[in-house]
Structures are given as C-alpha cells and as structure tokens.
C-alpha cells in the first residue's frame, strides 16, 4: 500500500527492485562519508587534545630571548648581549610582575645521559628546587619520590621513566658520552606526563635538575634560556605581558625578549592542525566526487530502463515536476542509504583511528568532533541529489509519445 508521497514510494520501490546496483552505487558515498568524517574527527580530536594540554598552562607567560636576539638579517647583537635572559632583565621582569604572579627562571639544553646502562638523549632543565613544585607534579607509580630535589638529585619525565624502566632511587649519569666527567645523580622522582605544553618545559622526555647543579655542569650562570611567569589571575595575563614588555623591551625596534603565552601557541597549533585537517578532508572529498559519477551513472541507467514507465506517467497526467521529484527522491534515497551506512561506519572507524593515532578517545564524543558524522552524511546526501538533477530533468522532459513507443 502507498503511504505518504506516491512519488517517494515509487522511488523506494525502484531502489528496492535494483537493490544490489543501488547498494554498489551507494558504497561510493559510504567511502566518502567515512573518509570525510573520520579525517575531520581525527583532526578535531588532535586540536581538542592540544587545546586541552595547552590550556593547562594558559596562566603562564613565556619570556625568551633566542629569536629576538638573533634579530633581523644584518642585525648584530651588542657585545654585552648573552645567549639568554640576563640577570638585569630578570630583575626588570620580577619588578614588572610584582605580586601579580610568580617568576620562574629556567635553564635548558639538550644533553646525553645513561640510566641503567642504557644511553639516552633529551632536554635537561635547570630549575630552582623551590620553583619546581609550582608547576610540575609527581607520578607516584614509579615509587615515592619528591619534587624537593637536592644538588645531586634529578626528576625524570614520564616517557623516559617508561622507556628506561626507571624506579625512584635509580642512578643516572648526565653528560656527553665522550666526556670523562659524567657525574652520577639519583632519580628523586618521576614527573607526570604533560603532553604538548605552552610553557616551553616539555619534561616528558626531559630531565629536571637543580639550577645550581645545571650551571656547575653547563656554565651560563645568570643566562636563563627562558623565564616563565605564572600569573595569579589569567584574565590579567595581557596586562602583565604589556607591563613586562614596557619594562624590558625598551627599544621597540630591537626588542630584548620575546613574550608569548598559551594563546599564541594555541592559535599557531590549531591553525596548523586545522589546515592539515582540511587538506586531508579534501582528499577524502575526492572519493565523494567519484561516488557522484557512480550515482549519476546509476540514475541515468534508471531513467533509461524506465522510459516507457515515464511515458505512461506523463501521458496519464503526471506533471513534469512530479516526474523530476520522483527521480530526485531516488537519488536522495541512494544518498541516504550511503550516508546511513557511512555514518555508522564512521563512528566505528573514526573511533578506531582516533584511538590508534592519538591514544585517547576522551574528546571523540565532543560536539566539535562528533558533528563531522552528520555533516559528512549531509554532504553525501547533497552530492547524491545533485548527481540526480540531470537524469531527473531528462526524464521529466521526455516526449510522452516517444517514451511510450520505447520498448
């Protein structure tokens, strides 16, 4: 029995009559929908994770000197300039920040080390032991450690701990493999994983030592690689940055330091990820173009096979628009079929891909991520309907006499 629109009903029956052919045509749409939504979700999950990780240090201003000191081409640093932030600059920063935040000067370099006779390489940070607990946390699963490290103690990052099978209390030798002086220190604790951070202290594959030990080993006392300022009120972060800029960068043409925060890095990272995501989705979109050709072909076949039926419909008083609608419905049904299978597959495949590529699916069901499924389904349906426009137009404009004569 006919329920609802008779033309929709006729289209459903036509698709059902040629189900295998329709299903094969719809597979193109399935692939397109899966490609677009999975890639979209992957990109968005990456962005959300980076955003979340960077937000953890949203209250931190990072002041560094390296890029600024290099200056534009042809710029020669003054003879007094060092490779890091100077004591004088630190004093100005401290003065500018005042009671609005905590100033943490940090030394850093790349270095070699050996743990349990296994050689490794990573970042080495020198931080006053009093400052460590202000932004780093301990992971107690490797043993009861402490952040309050002494001169001969270190903290290691979570990736190093995992890779070198570290336990609190193990020994570590730090220094160039070729050097004869490779002091031995104790691992006082393992730091929790920080992931992508905006404060420039990526400890996951790094080692934290006391700043005094650092300068004894590597020199460069009072020439910090960077100074982090943890502001008390994140809403005032721009104001504090402006104060520091005014006090330290007295020469506007050749600023002494570069001042950044999580917002700057977040913008850069999300912009890059967004571009990559769009590019990958566009590649996925190509499969939808191929699907469009396939749908067009199936629709043309459907029109060719039903010429006499079209002739009957037109001769007994069916309007051209109604014939057009019938074929557009058919394309819509193919799209809906492909989009439904594609949408369900996207959830499954997208979830697996996100799990495999990012390692977490905590952001998978966030609206920004899951919206790619209905969006890709909608695109798939629209592509199908557009593919059906010409066949539908052709069917509706047939001469009923010629169409009736067709066998």
């Amino acid at each position: 029995m006919i329920n609802g629109d008779i033309f929709f009903n006729l289209s459903v029956r036509s698709v059902r009559l040629n189900f295998l052919r329709s299903l094969l045509a719809a597979i193109g749409i399935v692939i397109g929908v899966v490609a677009i939504s999975s890639m979209g979700m992957l990109g968005t999950n990456m962005q959300l994770e980076v955003k979340d990780q960077l937000s953890a240090s949203a209250n931190t201003i990072v002041i560094s000197s390296d890029a600024a000191r290099m200056g534009p081409p042809g710029f020669t640093p003054s003879s007094s300039s060092s490779s890091g932030i100077t004591k004088k600059e630190l004093t100005k920063i401290t003065s500018a920040v005042g009671t609005n935040g905590t100033v943490i000067p940090i030394y850093s370099t790349d270095g070699e080390f050996t743990i349990n006779s296994i050689a490794g390489r990573g970042s080495i940070y020198g931080i006053d032991s009093d400052d460590i607990s202000k932004f780093l946390k301990l992971n107690q699963t490797y043993g009861n450690g402490t952040l309050d490290i002494g001169l001969n103690e270190v903290l290691v990052g979570s990736e190093i701990a995992s890779e070198f099978n570290v336990k609190v209390g193990d020994r570590i030798r730090i220094g160039s493999f070729s050097s004869s002086s490779r002091p031995e220190l104790h691992i006082a604790g393992v730091l929790t994983s920080r992931g992508t951070v905006a404060d420039g202290v990526s400890t996951d594959s790094g080692i934290v030592v006391d700043s005094k030990w650092y300068t004894n080993q590597y020199g460069g006392e009072d020439e910090w690689s960077q100074v982090n300022v943890i502001v008390k009120n994140v809403d005032n972060i721009t104001g504090t940055e402006n104060l520091i800029d005014t006090k330290v960068n007295t020469n506007a043409k050749t600023p002494s330091v570069r001042i950044t925060d999580a917002t700057t890095q977040l913008e850069t990272e999300t912009s890059t990820l967004s571009t990559v995501t769009t590019f990958i989705m566009a590649i996925g979109g190509i499969s939808l173009l191929v699907a469009a050709v396939s749908i067009f072909n199936v629709m043309m076949m459907s029109v060719s096979e039903r010429i006499q039926e079209i002739g009957i419909l037109l001769s007994i008083g069916t309007e051209k628009g109604e014939v057009r609608r019938m074929f557009l419905y058919e394309a819509f049904i193919l799209g809906l079929l492909g989009a439904a299978i594609g949408g369900a597959s996207s959830l499954l495949i997208g979830y697996t891909v996100v799990e495999a590529m990012i390692g977490t699916t905590s952001y998978f069901f966030e609206p920004a991520s899951i919206m790619y499924v209905p969006a890709a389904m909608l695109i798939g349906i629209i592509v199908c309907v557009i593919s059906g426009v010409y066949p539908a137009w052709r069917a509706s404009n047939m001469d009923p006499i010629d169409a009736l004569r067709s066998e």
């Binding site: 029995m1 006729l10 006499q308 009957i312 419909l313 007994i316 008083g317």
Partner: protein
C-alpha cells in the same frame, strides 16, 4: 448533452520534421465529435490513426489548424494546463495496457486520483471501479505482471475512469487480447458509452468498429469516409 462539440478539429495538419525530410501525417482534417458520441477510427498502417489519437489525447499539438477540447483551444494552453486536462478530462485505454509496473492493480487505479487530489483515496472509488470491471480485492493487490492480459486491460479501464473523464480514448483496446476477452472488454466500453461517456476507439477490427455509432476511415492522413 449540448450541441457544442466536445472535440473539434478545424483544418488540423500535423507535420513531422524528419532527417529524411518533412512528413505530414494529418492533412487538413476537419472533424466534430459530440458529447456521448461513440466513434471508431479505422485505417491501414501509416494512415495517421496514431497521430490522430495523439492529437485527441493532447499528447501532441497540431502543426497548423485548431483543436478544441471541451471548448478550449489546445494550442493556447500551457503545457501544465494540457497535463491537467489529460489527467482530469481524458481517460486512456491502450493496446499494451501501460500499467505502472511498480504499483499494484489497486494502486494503478488510485494513482490518477492521487495526482488530482494530492492525497490517498478515502472514498473507495478505486476499489468500486475495480469491482465494476471484474477485479476483486485479492487480484487488486497483484502487480500488473501477475495479471492476465484481460485482467490488465480491466485495470487500465478502471484507471481511465477513476477521475470521471468525459472522453475515453481507446487505442486498439482489444489488440492484445483473445477474441472472447476482447468482446468482454468491448461490452464494458459499450456500457460506459451508455452511461454517457464520449468514446473514441482506434481499431483495425471491423467487428469491433461495428460497436461504434460512427466510423471514420483515415487514408494517408485524410478522412476518406465519415
């Protein structure tokens, strides 16, 4: 019944522009068909019978001359108006039945009603018409391919009547049927004429033509005998 012809052809000519040159299928045809006429159009192959039926059924328009159906000049009607006139005022019965294969017998009969009223038939008109032509409820659920030729033609007659048209155009309605079934179908058509329909039938069969009260012979696109 009025004295105004329900169909009037005034000097109607139909010329087809073919690659091999122009071909005129109807030459200056003049004909008046009154309401409740029963006319048989006869003639050999290529005489213009089908062209004449296409003109009367407004599936085509004359190249020159005027064709009036229910007082309206077909040439002055928009394509949509012609479509609506086909739907509402003319019932078609074809030699090859031309039922919609995707619909059941009942749905085929209901289809023109849905076209006209944009909704399902709740009046029971489709069912009663099917019963009137001898198609019971069980058969009405069948698809056209599951019905015999005679049954399909009965369904086609019910479909042609469902919008209560004044004109019935029958193109060789018994051509695909055995003689017994053919006469049964003709009895139904005669009965419809008795009930007031204007019937125009195209046939090769002299016996079928004898049912009509007026016979028109076409030869080379001209009316030879009326």
């Amino acid at each position: 019944m009025t004295d105004t012809p329900i169909i009037q052809l005034e000097d109607v000519t139909k010329t087809y522009h073919l690659e091999s040159g122009d071909y005129t299928a109807l030459h200056h045809v003049n004909l008046s068909i009154m309401e409740n006429d029963f006319i048989a159009i006869m003639g050999p192959s290529g005489s213009g019978k089908s062209t004449m039926m296409n003109q009367l059924g407004i599936l085509d328009v004359p190249t020159s001359g005027n064709l009036y159906i229910a007082g309206k000049n077909v040439a002055e009607m928009s394509p949509l108006e012609r479509t609506h006139m086909r739907r509402d005022s003319i019932g078609y019965i074809f030699q090859k039945f031309y039922l919609i294969p995707l619909l059941s017998a009942y749905e085929n009969v209901e289809y023109p009603l849905i076209l006209k009223y944009k909704r399902r038939d709740t009046t029971g008109k489709a069912s009663s018409l099917l019963e009137a032509v001898g198609i019971g409820k069980e058969l009405s659920e069948h698809r056209p391919t599951q019905l015999s030729g005679g049954q399909q033609q009965r369904v086609a007659i019910a479909r042609a009547l469902v919008n209560d048209p004044k004109i019935l155009l029958c193109d060789e309605p018994t051509g695909n049927l055995d003689s017994k079934t053919g006469y049964q179908i003709m009895d139904i058509i005669c009965d419809l004429h008795t009930k007031g329909k204007t019937v125009i039938i195209v046939t090769h069969d002299e016996k079928i033509a004898e049912y009509a009260n007026r016979q028109i012979r076409l030869v080379d696109g001209r009316i030879a005998e009326s």
